[in-house]
């Protein structure tokens, strides 16, 4: 048994798990506030990555400015989608809203193909390229950065939800929209803000994922593995998405190493089914209690 190798594999699994967790935040925020599973998260992420690409190459902006602008752009995208597509669907069956996001992803893909074409591209490299060693164990520098960004962000979100009034408002809305509204919480504003913040999160993860894996109109499929992590963790739990994201990352890394890459998705989805049989609403998700 090569222990160093095992440690390295686990570390890299944690790193890619952080990517899941980071993108997963968008799913959770949106679900918490508006009870919508946004299947277009992958495509929003793609659009943001292309936006970043456009800013850094066509306009030749410095990277830090492009990152800020992309995050703002992601926020605007989230806000516009909420206001134009999701708000009018309020009260419709969740599956109809789910389908609206499917339609949206088709629109976003078409838009990107129209503006940037279908060619796969790479983002300018701004992340450090010097290998990181923890002890003797190698960690990819990009992955290390992703891990740091994801854990900082998630810690920040957790703090915000506990302390800040807006975070409390979000939790109140998630618990009971009617009650929250009668307590004077501006529920529609909570809807908008959570979509805007989710948009910003997709922008951030879009830049990171694009700079690791390159960008193409079909990069949105990444959203799917993330969705698994989110479901396992619980659709409405920020802490859950972190734990589940990291767990899925490590499981995939171990499976990919010791069984082979073709087993990765298979084991991921088997994990999903098992997790759902044991904890139907995820590890940390709120159990929906039904009354007659």
């Amino acid at each position: 048994m090569d222990w160093l190798f095992l440690i390295e594999v686990v570390l890299s699994g944690l790193g890619s798990g952080a990517l899941f967790a980071l993108t997963g935040i968008a799913f959770v925020l949106i679900y918490k506030a508006t009870k919508v599973i946004n299947l277009a998260v992958g495509e929003m992420l793609m659009l943001c990555a292309y936006f970043f690409f456009g800013l850094t190459t066509a306009l030749a902006l410095p990277v830090w400015l492009a990152i800020i602008l992309t995050v703002i752009g992601g926020g605007i995208l989230g806000g516009v989608v909420e206001r134009a597509l999701i708000r009018p669907m309020l009260g419709e069956s969740p599956i109809s809203v789910f389908m609206v996001t499917v339609g949206l992803s088709s629109v976003l893909i078409g838009f990107v193909e129209l503006v940037w074409g279908g060619d796969p591209r790479t983002l300018p490299n701004f992340l450090p390229t010097k290998p990181v060693f923890i002890g003797d164990a190698y960690v990819s520098p990009k992955i290390a950065v992703c891990f740091l960004v994801a854990s900082l962000l998630i810690a920040g979100f957790l703090l915000v939800f506990r302390k800040w009034r807006g975070g409390v408002a979000l939790r109140a809305t998630a618990a009971d929209q009617g009650a929250a509204f009668s307590c004077g919480i501006n529920v529609p504003a909570v809807f908008s803000i959570s979509w805007i913040v989710a948009g910003m999160a997709t922008a951030g993860s879009g830049i990171l994922i694009g700079s690791i894996g390159g960008i193409s109109p079909s990069m949105g499929v990444f959203g799917l593995t993330v969705l698994v992590a989110v479901i396992v963790g619980g659709l409405d739990s920020i802490a859950g998405v972190l734990v589940a994201g990291l767990a899925i990352g490590v499981i995939e890394a171990l499976v990919g190493t010791y069984l082979g890459g073709e087993f990765k998705l298979f084991v991921t989805f088997v994990t999903l089914i098992i997790a759902m049989m044991i904890r139907p609403y995820g590890l940390f998700g709120t159990i929906e209690i039904e009354r007659l």
């Binding site: 699994g13 890619s16 591209r121 190698y138 990009k142």
Partner: protein
Amino acid sequence: MIIFPTRRKLLSYAAAGCLALGIQTSARAADDIVIGASMPLTGAFGFAGIPLNLGIQDYLKIANDAGGIGGRKIKYVSEDTAYAVDKSIAAFNRITASEKVSLYYGDSTGFAKTINAELSRRDSILMAGTSFATELNDPKNFPYQFIPGPDYSQMIGILLEYIAKTTPGAKIALVNSDTEFGRDPIAATEKRAAELGLKIVGKIATPPTSVDVSTEVLKLRRADPDYTIFHGYVLAPLPEFMTQMKQLGLKSKFMGTFWSMDNSIWANSAAVADGYMGVMPYRYYFDTEGTSPTLDKIRQLRPEYQTIYYTQGFLTAMLMIEAAKRTLDAKKDLTASNMKASLNSIKDFDTGGIIGVPISISGNTIPVGRVYQYDGANKTMKPVSDWIKIAK
């Protein structure tokens, strides 16, 4: 009962509308030779579909300006398929319903396999397409199809030949995407490597959704190959593999196959791609070595760089027209079997410089190619081997 006639009328309008749509045929000259195409202009393969389409159009324009085939004009009808098999077949049906199609360009291995029975039944259409799948290189089961280059196994065969010559007994790692496309050449590669005395030290499959490759890199680090051969990708995740493996100081050289060998896709990651090698059956747009009248013509027609996907379309059209021309010159009917026989009669044919050596098509492929290496400083692919012919 006033309503009845009205409703009937409505129905009859609807029926008439359906008929009008169904029966509409476009006007055409009776003796045009028609090339149909299911083109992946959108979807996962859109990056190649658009230049492919352009390449075919450009060659046909040149051919038509030169008088077509024995005075008969060539007409090109293409339709977008979004790279989905059912839509490709819909396009095939629509185009063949309104035109008398003799030649066809298909957009995927799935389409080539699905339409094969129909091609055999019709015996009127000769087909080629985007797919270099090993499975299609089988004149018995795919009698009316051809591949305008080596198939994927032959491509890797060419790379192995090159490796065996430059580094005998080298250690090789195979990285393939876990798709039909990616897994295509694995079995043939293992067999050929053993014959050439090369050692396969690692086989890695990556699922199509994966982004991060650091786990795979860890495995490659332990295997420490002399060559890492990627297949089943276009661009991602090759740059990330190469970046990380270079960071770790691995001495491995990197190789790829046709779809990841275009010059332009590497322009943004030139530093990383420096030294990347791969097999290419065609000469690049900017290749001025020797005389190449066809490349000159392309450069004259299109002053800006054209991808190798464009070249693939261009050459495919050239071979199709050549097959049709030889058939008509021999005073035979344009049936698929006659055209395929004519195609197979191509011996030491000069493509005008698209392929650097005269070609012969004995079966379904042109088993020839050359190893190129990317020069990051000049952002161009440079040949590092001579043209390598593979014996089947």
